[in-house]
């Protein structure tokens, strides 16, 4: 009986190990958000933003932000700026609007909404994301 149980536990552990090894993919801890090449700068003092990706990854579902991804693309998610490239700040899915639209998955939209619902998450331009050097 004990032998069977041990066998079962070890087999299960091996299976889990095998599955996780196959499905393993890297979740970056920090992501530096830079403008896509050739994209015109909107602002003279805002530097590329160091985004705490890992901090968000353990609190939210991946697809809350990676809104176009599916189960099939798991592990191969593309960064926001691969699609949100337009440098016109008024373009609906442009580079600026990707981070500054009214609701999730945009950074500012999600943060302002959560703040108004009682959250303590930062929203200040120069205190949350764009700290002056």
């Amino acid at each position: 009986m004990l032998r069977n149980m041990l066998l079962f536990v070890s087999l299960t552990a091996m299976l889990i190990f095998a599955v996780t090894t196959v499905l393993a993919y890297e979740v970056p801890d920090k992501v530096l958000i830079e403008r896509p090449k050739g994209n015109q700068k909107l602002n003279s003092w805002v530097a590329p933003v160091s985004f705490p990706h890992g901090f968000h990854a353990i609190r939210l579902a991946c697809r809350d932000c990676h809104h176009k991804e599916t189960d099939k693309t798991l592990g191969k998610y593309v960064p926001c700026r691969q699609c949100h490239t337009d440098d016109d700040p008024t373009a609906e899915s442009g580079f600026y609007r990707a981070w500054h639209s009214p609701g999730p998955p945009s950074c500012l939209g999600c943060h302002t909404q959560m703040r108004s619902e009682g959250g303590k998450n930062p929203v200040g331009c120069t205190t949350a994301c764009h700290k002056p050097k």
Partner: protein, 321 residues
């Protein structure tokens, strides 16, 4: 700048006995543009407003300062107050009605039993603690009155930030348990359109009423505000945005930079977090806070008294850890 004063305008109107066709068409053209139809649809708006029977409106006041009503009454060119009076049938409004006491109450009872229905507008937060005893009208608590009236209405509009989200009386410590209309009256099935702002631009209120009469329910955002008016941040539409982008910030109100019209972000402007159309709609088509040299205080956002104060300092809220 509009010519003449409001008083001159009223004197001129007094002799005419109502709104002239020209003023009315001007209003319709402006409204058609404002609600996104384009000026060519003025005739359509005019048709919708004149052929239908004037809808009955019941305007209730709860815990508020009457600033929203005052803002609406002072709307300038075209004269919204007169036009509103000739477009809707304002059957109950404590601020502007001639009746008082039991006669006023009788008017309310008559309006809410109108078989053709009515639109309910609520201004001010609703106190809910201790059975709502902090505010009473005619011996009935505001909570009861609003629940009774709004639950029977065809549509409910929450006018101003207090009615939308609780406003100043819902700020900490909120001793009276004041709540916004949707939060307080959810149990009786009320789903109000929030015209947030302190005060909101009267154009946003009138635009919503015209939209309801012509095109039906407007698109609403996460906070039930019409996206037509609350779809973008104040910052995105701000004429001083170029100074923000080039890092030109005024550091005190009496500085030469402030006089030059530099960005007020470091003086506490909450424009980047505030959804409203102040920079484009302007108050009374004349001005808005930032153009007058005062930072945006975020008055159309929920809980702005707690979440976005102090008003004259930028938010200090860096990420933790």
């Amino acid at each position: 700048m509009p010519n003449g004063t409001r008083f001159d305008g009223l004197k001129m109107m007094a002799g005419q006995g109502g709104v002239s066709r020209r003023d009315f068409m001007k209003f319709c053209g402006l409204m058609a543009t404002f609600i996104g139809l384009g000026p060519g649809f003025a005739a359509e708006v005019a048709h919708a407003l004149t052929t239908k029977k004037r809808p009955s409106v019941v305007y209730l006041h709860c815990a508020e300062c009457t600033g929203c009503t005052e803002g609406l009454l002072r709307a300038y060119e075209p004269y919204f107050d007169e036009i509103i009076m000739s477009t809707i049938s304002l059957d109950y409004c404590e601020t502007v009605m001639a009746a008082a006491g039991t006669a006023a109450h009788a008017a309310l009872e008559k309006a809410i039993t109108n078989p053709e229905g009515f639109i309910c507008v609520i201004e001010g937060g609703i106190p809910t603690f201790h059975g709502g005893e902090y505010g009473k009208v005619g011996g009935e608590t505001m909570f009861q009155l609003c629940a009774r009236v709004a639950s029977k209405a065809k549509a409910t509009i929450a006018m101003g930030s207090c009615a939308s989200f609780g406003g100043v009386q819902a700020a900490r410590p909120n001793l009276s348990g004041a709540k916004g209309v949707n939060e307080a009256l959810k149990a009786v099935g009320v789903n109000a359109i929030n015209i947030a702002g302190c005060p909101p631009n009267p154009m946003n209120f009138v635009g919503t009423v015209v939209h309801l009469l012509t095109k039906g329910m407007p698109d609403l955002d996460h906070w039930n505000r019409p996206t037509l008016f609350y779809g973008d941040t104040v910052h995105s539409q701000c004429p001083r945005q170029k100074h923000f982008n080039s890092g030109e910030f005024a550091l005190s109100f009496d500085s030469p930079e402030a006089k030059k019209g530099w960005c007020l972000y470091k003086l506490g402007c909450k424009g980047p977090y505030t959804y409203n159309n102040c920079p484009t709609a302007l108050f009374n088509q004349v001005n808005w806070p930032v153009k007058a040299g005062a930072p945006c205080i975020g008055c159309s956002e929920p809980n702005f008294w707690d979440d976005y104060s102090p008003f004259f300092h930028p938010i200090e809220d860096g990420p933790k850890g």
